[in-house]
Amino acid sequence: MMEELERYLRMDRFPHMWCPGCGNGIVLGCMLRAIKKLDLDQDRTVIVGGIGCSSRAVGYLDFNTLHTTHGRALAYATGIKLARPELNVIVVSGDGDSTAIGGNHFIHAARRNIDLTLVLFNNSIYGMTGGQYSPLTPVGKKATTAPYGTIEPGFDASELARAAGATFVGRGTTYHTELLANLIVEGIQNKGFSLVEAITACPTAFGRRNKMKGGTEMLLWQKENAVHINRAGRLSPEELDGKIVIGELHRREAPEYTELYDKLILNVQQETQSASIKTMKVE
């Protein structure tokens, strides 16, 4: 399998920069399996990242890759996709990147339903800067900037995307890799804005500080605390408390933004044409 994925990697960029036990490589692996399954054209696929450990994934990938500014990946990607709708555009971003500094772009990309797939690496923390709390850090958890535990309630990124207008929302974990890869496949196939939230472990900046031990223990934590959406419906809110619901969470039909724009161009150009024919007749 690995060899089959190597064609998507810039092998000369390894070893990667992630810590031992980090889940980012697993998410990346799932992404590549999804890309392989869909057989996306490497020359016609753009992968855009923000700033953070997770966003660094783009540098290892052999596509047109764009490593942008903190929080802005979706806005850059919007420009790419609108200018050239024929390109596949995938965005990778961290929880801080897409729900704190980039929160505005996140809801507006979802609202427009522009055909981008956002793979959100949710490690519950700002990894790259050493463990400050993010809008997805669960309340009570410790961070370097929340030494006594955060008092802020967190977002549910998937709910946020759904409410803002996303047409596909799924959540997986780095323990449930097959599910995660399949969700990314579904996300890319969906013609519209898709969020795939990947729960991933950051032992260095989150686990250590929150008594979750190392990468293996954090993976097992994902195994024990994830509830598939098909089972979640049968559980009471009390039973679901503290659990992560995984699977395809939301899907709806809606027109896609760049298709609407192309139609608008067609209409406007036809109107202009018929208007000029009319004036010719008058003359």
């Binding site: 783009v58 047109n64 890759t65 806005a75 420009g79 609108l82 505005n104 724009y261 406007v268």
Partner: protein, 380 residues
Amino acid sequence: MSRVVELARLMQGNEAAAEGALAAGVRFFAGYPITPSTEVAEIMAERLPRLGGKFIQMEDEIASMAAIIGASLTGVKSLTATSGPGFSLMQENIGFAAMAEVPCVIVNVQRSGPSTGMPTAPAQGDVMQARWGTHGDHPVIALCPSSVREAYDLAIRSVNLAEKYRMPVILLMDEVIGHLRERVVLPLPDEIEIINRREPQEAPADYYAYRADETGVPPMANFGTGYRYHVTGLAHDEKGNPTNDPARAEGLLLRLHDKLNLNLDDILIEDSRSLDDAEVVVLAYGATARPARQAVKEARQQNIKAGLYRPLTLWPFPTASVDRLARQARTIIVPEMNLGQYRIEVERVVRGRANVVGVNRVNGELIAPGEILQAILEVV
């Protein structure tokens, strides 16, 4: 009918900037409304789809700047337009465009600041922000028109320079020029020089996205054309991959500056009036150059040897020209709708060889010819 009458039309400065950009081949606009630049966005929203181009109103100016960089990476000439508060928000991504060498044009129609200031009043308070607004030692080109026709011409030139040197170019207008209506005769399409970015000739496997030849400017492969490479705001090597190697990082930064330093003859443009024997030189740009021209004319009528020097390229600074003025003139008067942002640069180059005097206003009003004439009379 003669061609002139046929093609003459009444045009607003902002409209001229928009039309100039379209004439230069801009087919993507992302922006966020702000007075006194909004007309540019409105015209683009109307015109672009007719031309098969794309307009998008983004959620803010940060996103607007990001979107035009993204679009430009795919090979589409891209523009945004804003004013002070929005220009401030764009700065981080302008730095990205400089570092990653992505052609794009930012129209900044200056209004009175700081902060929200006086939204409908003119100012020239963003001259230094245009130069140093984003962090780090970045190169920048900023052009500054003094008339409606010039807004058109400099919009074309901004797009051309962005493409040629692979960098963000700022069209630094002000509220007066943006909202001014003048009769203009525009050039015919075949009279307009259009420059497109240089694309690589080599095979993708041999392509180094950031390896430059003697021009200092690497050829640019557009996304989706089979050249797979990495674009980042991190210091990077010739392949575009991040590096912490001091020599590579410095080499990159120096090359970014060399792109301008090696090509100043092409980038710097200027205009002058009765400068040959001038002992008093008024150095003015943008809207302020209009009363300055009038003041110089009136001074000449009083047999005062006054002249006008007008940089159309504000950045990079026209060091050689100002150096010449320093040797020629006794006094250089710099009228500005700010507290002397460009004057300090003039003083830096003049180094005491001539007397440098400011005429400044920050009350949202244009400087009157009489004020500049007064300054001339005081020094002769």
